[in-house]
Assembly symmetry: C2
């Protein structure tokens, strides 16, 4: 391979975990769930999602599982119902991933 110019340095840090985070956010319905949880400072019942979203119950459950496995939400069963809330560090985790990829400009 021939040279073009000053060879640029490719940052080869492993970012698969960050990519996984963004991937979990890469679906409109999951974003809706996250946005809802972020606004309802309180917890949200699964039945609220199944009621409001144009999705069948198994699909809702599937998306919630993905968010759970990404560590973005937590859940708690109380009686028949299951309540979800935004993970305490969700905002920080996303923020960290973002800034690790695009570092803060100093003295913009």
């Amino acid at each position: 391979m021939q040279r073009c110019c000053p060879p640029a340095t490719v940052d080869l840090t492993d970012r698969s975990s960050h990519a996984a985070l963004f991937k979990a956010l890469g679906d409109p319905h999951r974003l809706t769930m996250i946005a809802t949880l972020a606004r309802a400072e309180d917890e949200v019942c699964v039945c609220d999602f199944t009621g409001a979203l144009p999705l069948e119950q198994p699909t809702v459950s599937h998306h919630l599982k993905i968010l759970r496995e990404a560590g973005l939400v937590t859940c708690e069963r109380r009686g028949t119902w299951v309540y979800y809330r935004l993970a305490a560090d969700a905002r920080d985790r996303i923020d960290a991933a973002f800034h690790s990829v695009i570092p803060q400009k100093v003295l913009a």
Copy 2:
């Protein structure tokens, strides 16, 4: 369907465009490219990516196309080579998507 408690309000704002942004970021190799471009304030030649990444040239080209279509990078051909750089508003676009989903806490 039976009621559990106080019915929560699901935020039904359309977030497909934001989801598309996150989706473009949801691949480790694409994150590597973005991180490299963000650090090299200057432009980066495609050949630097094909040289450094464990991917064949068509695959690199494919990922760059996805980033281009997401509006995250721009490219310019000069002679035989093509140079990519981070789109001017890339940082702002991601930031906006993030905050639209998880609004800034006031008086944390």
